[in-house]
């Protein structure tokens, strides 16, 4: 399992924010190529965050696409003095949560059912796929806000304060949501490792 770098810090982060603010300004002026650059920068992140709420990859892509289109319409509301990522992720989170609320409740595989330690595991790829299924299943069982909080914090590297602003909740609530989500997910990961 490879650990990817988190969001850049310091000067790199300031430079990235400045570049993205400039891209957003150009996109607001009708520059579709600049908007395309922003999509490319945030496509994977937006799709992961949406998937943390929706699980189904197609639903997640639809929600991410809706979010980018909504962002395009709302670009005049974006403040270029502030980082673009958190502003966009707030729209993604809302889009995914709305879609989850609207869609017909699908049966999600229970985390416990089918997870039997020491079961038949043909190869590493299958093991990983199974672990991924179970992690997504675990996320599906969490309230959407909790799934978003842990994904934005542990996967995407946003701070508690940034997540609080994105989700419109106090910073202490973000900490609590991340804590509860981690407890559930870490237990799952630990069980999996012990079973290996």
């Amino acid at each position: 399992m490879q650990t990817e770098p988190q969001r850049p810090d310091g000067a790199a982060r300031t430079l990235r924010d400045a570049v993205e603010a400039a891209l957003a300004t150009r996109a607001r002026g009708g520059d579709r190529a600049a908007f395309g650059d922003l999509i490319e920068r945030y496509a994977d992140q937006a799709r992961r965050v949406a998937r943390a709420v929706l699980q189904d990859p197609d639903d997640a892509d639809d929600a991410a696409q809706d979010a980018f289109l909504a962002a395009l319409v709302k670009l005049d509301q974006y403040d270029p003095q502030r980082p673009f990522g958190p502003w966009l992720m707030r729209i993604v989170a809302n889009s995914a949560t709305d879609r989850r609320r609207r869609r017909t409740v699908r049966r999600t595989e229970s985390l416990e059912e089918g997870f039997v330690a020491g079961g038949v595991r043909p190869d590493v790829v299958a093991e990983r796929a199974a672990l991924n299924d179970r992690l997504r299943g675990a996320l599906a069982q969490l309230p959407p806000r909790r799934s978003l909080a842990v994904t934005l914090f542990d996967v995407e590297g946003y701070s508690h304060a940034e997540i609080a602003e994105m989700l419109g909740i106090p910073e202490g609530t973000v900490r609590s949501e991340v804590f509860h989500a981690r407890r559930r997910l870490r237990t799952l990961l630990a069980d999996w490792r012990e079973a290996e």
Partner: protein, 113 residues
Amino acid sequence: MSESLTPFNHRPDPVLGAALREALQPRDPGGAVFRARVLAAAERQPVPVVDVLARWARLGIAAAVAAALLTGMLVGRVGRQAEPAVATTDPGAVVAGVQMPDASLLLAGYSER
């Protein structure tokens, strides 16, 4: 996962983060296909704000051009109306003219024939 399990932990968990990242990763990471898809959808979108603004700008320019043409036509028409009537004895030319025919000229034309 060596971090202490408390809500006050400020640091991201790299192991859990990597596991979740892998579980949530899109099937076609990289963004190129998705970017094309979103841009195509943006083109189909009914009225994005930038297009509205652009359309407003275009409408403004078109309205200014139309107003200039209309003003030019009106000024030209007023100028033509100010010109003296053409003194001709040809009834066809008089009928084809914009202005009302001068009855004395018409009658003079017929009386000459």
